[in-house]
């Protein structure tokens, strides 16, 4: 199931690497004591260090170090006990120091792995090259004034983790799955909130193409600052196609930086002069090498929550869920928490598969419609669990349960109260059902003839009649059995 682009003379495959910048969850910035909150008044979360006043110096925030180690562990990556901060030198108005403090050849985290959950239920491993800590830049506003750009340094100096993948992805879907998994992991770890639309997680997409079967790596182009999974996938699709066309026209792909225009769905070369960026990295002399011991890593490791992959494996193994369903439920920690609350072991234990079904197929639709997160669910996990109990002990049928579900949404009442109030209890009394079945048979001689004539599907008509006369409350299983018994004889 490979992604192939048909060129003029041959087939091409796409090689994708992703660099994702994740804003670290911390109270203060990476090298200064200013706050990191989103959306504050301009330049109110800026210390003199962030504003790069003369004589200012960086001091590293221990929490940012811990968050990076934690994320590295979540990526099953090598944690480097010694790493070095380097200055990446360039000029831009949102970069007051004239350099960004980043890490070059000695990053805090080395190689790791991310498992992709593909839509068809299969899994693929994608390599992580490294993770390093660096400063975020400020924000430029170009549309506030006709001749001037306005600069807000609030974001300057906020800690970023740059996570670089190996060029292991081969389709937009894989890239999408990678981004979703990465987002899921950092949200589980609470090291980044993964809000791509707020910009706390940003993606640079590196794309190159090559003839199918080739192992060489051709020139890649980088599309920067893509801020949604969908846009990333679109950008890859467009880029791959564009590059194939370049080769087909006898040209060469240029190594360059591009931007994704989400309105038009295309990538564009950045207009700024393409003087090759020479960042002149060198170790920051204001900072010593960052050094920590195994004890710290072990301490952080002990605080790791159950991560999505492990949780998914547990749901498949313990609860017998399909990998796909399990994957859906574990993607967000809050969803998994909700699901497990629904399933929470009581005397009899609830049916995990049924719970998964109801959460994924019924609850999600409601949340999506109303734009709610699962923590804002109008139906609590306890109440949903009670609803499942009512189905499991035959108090109501699945069909009635759907009605009750909708009533729960409407009224906010507990399911048992609703069943009681509306008299929705399933009729299981054999005598009552038999009476209704007899009545239905008696009322449909034509249909009886059709059934005896071989039309098995007409059974549905009888079921419908029985349900009508019992207000939908007859136990469907019993209805079917009785109908068949009587009609077959």
């Amino acid at each position: 199931m490979s992604y192939v682009i048909k060129g003029e003379t041959n087939d091409w495959e796409v090689v994708i690497g992703l660099e994702v910048h994740c804003q670290v969850i911390s109270n203060a910035k990476l090298f200064s004591g200013a706050a990191t909150d989103f959306g504050s008044e301009p330049n109110t979360q800026v210390s003199l260090v962030d504003a790069a006043m003369p004589g200012m110096l960086p001091v590293i925030n221990e929490q940012c170090v811990r968050q990076a180690i934690k994320t590295g562990l979540g990526l099953k990556a090598k944690i480097n006990a010694k790493s070095v901060f380097a200055r990446k030198n360039y000029f831009y108005a949102d970069l007051p120091q004239g350099y960004q403090i980043s890490q070059a050849d000695q990053p805090i985290v080395g190689e790791g792995t991310v498992i992709l959950d593909m839509p068809d239920g299969s899994s693929r491993a994608v390599g992580i090259e490294r993770l390093h800590l660096e400063q975020d830049a400020g924000k430029s506003l170009h549309d506030q004034d006709p001749t001037r750009t306005f600069i807000d340094l609030n974001r300057t100096g906020v800690a970023l983790m740059e996570i670089v993948s190996k060029p292991d992805m081969r389709s937009p879907e894989e890239a999408g799955a990678y981004l979703r998994k990465l987002r899921s992991i950092v949200r589980y770890l609470e090291t980044c909130d993964g809000n791509m639309d707020q910009g706390s997680m940003r993606c640079d997409v590196n794309v190159s193409v090559r003839p199918v079967g080739s192992t060489e790596l051709r020139t890649r182009a980088e599309t920067k600052n893509v801020n949604s999974v969908r846009f990333a996938m679109q950008a890859i699709e467009y880029e791959a196609q564009r590059q194939v066309e370049v080769y087909d026209n006898g040209g060469e792909v240029v190594q360059e930086t591009r931007l994704f225009d989400s309105q038009k769905g295309v990538t564009r070369s950045m207009r700024s002069k393409e003087h090759a960026h020479d960042y002149r990295y060198f170790p920051d002399p204001d900072l010593l090498p960052l050094v920590f011991d195994d004890a710290l890593v072990a301490e952080i490791k002990a605080t790791l929550p159950e991560l999505p992959d492990e949780r998914k494996a547990r749901y498949v193994g313990e609860f017998g869920l399909s990998p796909y369903d399990a994957g859906v439920l574990v993607a967000e920690k809050d969803t998994a928490t909700y699901f497990e609350a629904v399933v929470a072991m009581e005397e009899r234990g609830r049916d995990a598969k049924m719970a998964a079904n109801w959460v994924i197929n019924n609850l999600f639709a409601v949340l999506s419609d109303r734009g709610l997160s699962i923590t804002e669910s109008p139906i609590s996990a306890a109440d949903l669990g009670k609803l499942l109990d009512l189905i499991a002990d035959d108090t109501i049928s699945t069909k009635i349960a759907k009605e009750v579900f909708d009533l729960m949404l409407e009224t906010g009442d507990a399911p048992d109260k609703i069943v009681e109030d509306k008299g929705l209890k399933q009729i299981t009394d054999t005598g009552a059902i038999e009476a209704a079945v007899d009545a239905a048979i008696a009322a449909g001689p034509t249909q009886v003839a059709q059934y005896k004539g071989g039309n098995e599907k007409i059974l549905g008509w009888f079921v419908g009649q029985v349900m009508k006369s019992t207000g939908g409350k007859a136990n469907p299983g019993q209805v079917n059995k009785l109908l068949k018994d009587k009609l077959d004889n």
């Binding site: 006043m53 003369p54 004589g55 200012m56 200055r87 020479d278 002149r280 990295y281 002399p285």
Partner: protein, 494 residues
């Protein structure tokens, strides 16, 4: 009353305690001297109101019995590289026009807490880059010393650099003491040229927070004073761990003054053979020999040592320092403070501002620094230099197994005329040949005025100590100062 500007810090401290005079009287005397001495151009900004205010505060404290600061009431000058809150700070550069910091550097704040009275901001080579104080946007500083004979009679002489203004001010009685900074010799060399004491402490001893950065791994603040005792007193008030500076050593500040016991018996003094350079001025060699005699006479043992990589120190320095400077000076871009020269685009504005705002020497060093870090050259120059730096530091480490201090000349010559050595940039760099290795190794070094050249100009001798052993350094320096009996005076005449 005696001329109040002739006292040392120690003497004035006593005088204040005995109520022979007040801090306000001291300040007034110096303020007058500063005004009278403007011809030297030692000050960029005079702060007489600040001085009088702080002197008054000191007198008030003394009246209440709480004038306990190590520098209480003592009038000092501040090199204009230290950011001083509410007071213009220029780094002697056009590009910091009008910059008034809303913050105070840790070192100047420490001095203020210790009761010091600030007379003003002294002139320096622009961004501390230079060894003659001739690159300042505010014009060169004149050495208060003049040649009595020889080719340079009648010429204005350089005070040395980059802390030329501070050195000249102390030497001429325009400040009782002054702060300097030393990156490759910028405290020690001007101290030598102006006949005063200048101490560069161990890297990390004083905080760099709020000091306009030149080369981060080399810059150190230090005292420039009339005597070694004064340097001890002032260093005590300047030094201390600063959590805002990641390179500040978490090490206690000892009582440096208490280290001046006068007893150096049994100490080993190293004489590095590589510092005897070809074509060395015989006067300097002779003074160096005399220095050894003085110390021997006081009970120290003289040992020849080897610092084999000495000759590579200057080239190493002139790769590392400009590289760091090229990044440290990138923030001067006309966006947030200082000069802005307009441009049609952001890039234009940067190019115009920095092209006009930086002087030639600063531009040269930024370009060298940018070049040696650039792609393709990083390994050959910057990494290479950092390796050589390790070797140089190691030389000292090895030497200090056998000796307790090292004695060398401070500078290869006495003060030269302003305007000389300006065609060849390298010629100016050679002024730092004896001081640079110490900076590269991060060790403490002190220059003590040891004698006069045949033309009557000051010559200094340098002592280098182990890391964080300023105490031994000061102890030996004080003994040497005693033996040298340098005719300290301010102004040109005896």
């Amino acid at each position: 009353m005696a001329d109040l500007t002739t006292f040392t810090l120690a003497e004035a401290r006593d005088g204040l305690a005995k109520k022979d005079f007040s801090a306000t009287e001291l300040a007034e005397a110096y303020i007058k001297a500063v005004q009278a001495g403007r011809d030297l151009n030692a000050y960029i900004t005079e702060t007489p109101e600040v001085a009088l205010e702080r002197a008054r505060e000191s007198d008030d404290r003394r009246a209440k019995g709480s004038a306990t600061g190590a520098m209480d009431g003592l009038p000092i000058a501040m090199k204009d590289l230290f950011c001083t809150e509410g007071v213009l700070t220029t780094a002697a550069s056009h590009i910091l026009d009008g910059f008034v910091p809303p913050y105070e550097s840790t070192v100047s704040a420490n001095l203020r807490s210790a009761g010091a009275v600030m007379l003003g901001k002294t002139n320096l080579d622009e961004f501390a880059m230079g060894s003659a104080n001739i690159t300042s946007y505010y014009g060169p500083v004149k050495n208060p010393w003049k040649a009595k004979s020889g080719a340079n009679v009648g010429k204005d002489l350089a005070p040395g650099g980059s802390s030329g203004g501070s050195a000249a001010a102390v030497a001429a009685g325009l400040a009782m003491a002054a702060t300097g900074t030393d990156t490759g010799g910028s405290i020690r060399q001007p101290a030598s040229f102006c006949g005063i004491t200048g101490l560069k402490p161990t890297y990390g001893r004083c905080s760099r927070w709020g000091v306009v950065a030149f080369a981060s791994s080399l810059d150190q603040a230090g005292p420039m004073t009339k005597t070694v005792r004064d340097a001890a007193i002032m260093l005590g008030a300047m030094a201390g761990h600063d959590p805002k500076d990641s390179t500040s050593a978490p090490i206690a500040v000892p009582n440096f003054e208490a280290a001046l016991t006068g007893d150096i018996r049994g100490l080993n003094v190293g004489i590095p053979k590589e510092y005897s350079m070809d074509g060395m001025d015989p006067e300097i060699q002779a003074l160096w020999n005399k220095g050894q005699e003085w110390l021997k006479a006081s009970g120290a043992k003289i040992k020849e040592i080897s610092l084999p990589h000495t000759k590579y120190a200057l080239a190493t320095y002139y790769i590392v320092a400009p590289a760091e400077a090229s990044a440290n000076l990138a923030r001067y871009d006309g966006v947030r403070y200082g000069l802005r020269v307009p441009g049609d685009s952001l890039d234009d504005m940067y190019m115009n501002t920095r092209g006009e705002g930086f002087g030639e020497e600063v531009q040269r060093r930024i370009l060298i620094g940018t070049y040696v870090l650039s792609s393709g050259y990083y390994d050959a120059y910057y990494i290479k230099a950092q390796r050589v730096r390790s070797l140089i530091a190691n030389d000292f480490k090895t030497a200090f197994k056998d000796v307790d201090v090292i004695l060398t000349p401070t500078a290869p010559s006495a003060a030269f005329p302003l305007g000389e050595k300006q065609e060849d940039p390298v010629a100016m760099y050679l002024n730092d040949v004896f001081t640079v290795p110490t900076s590269l190794a991060g060790l403490p070094g002190i220059s003590v005025p040891a004698g006069l050249s045949k033309d009557g100009l000051p010559l200094g001798l340098q002592l280098i100590g182990r890391a964080f052993d300023e105490e031994t350094l000061l102890r030996v320096a004080a003994v040497m100062e005693s033996a040298a009996a340098f005719p300290f005076h301010h102004g040109a005449e005896d």
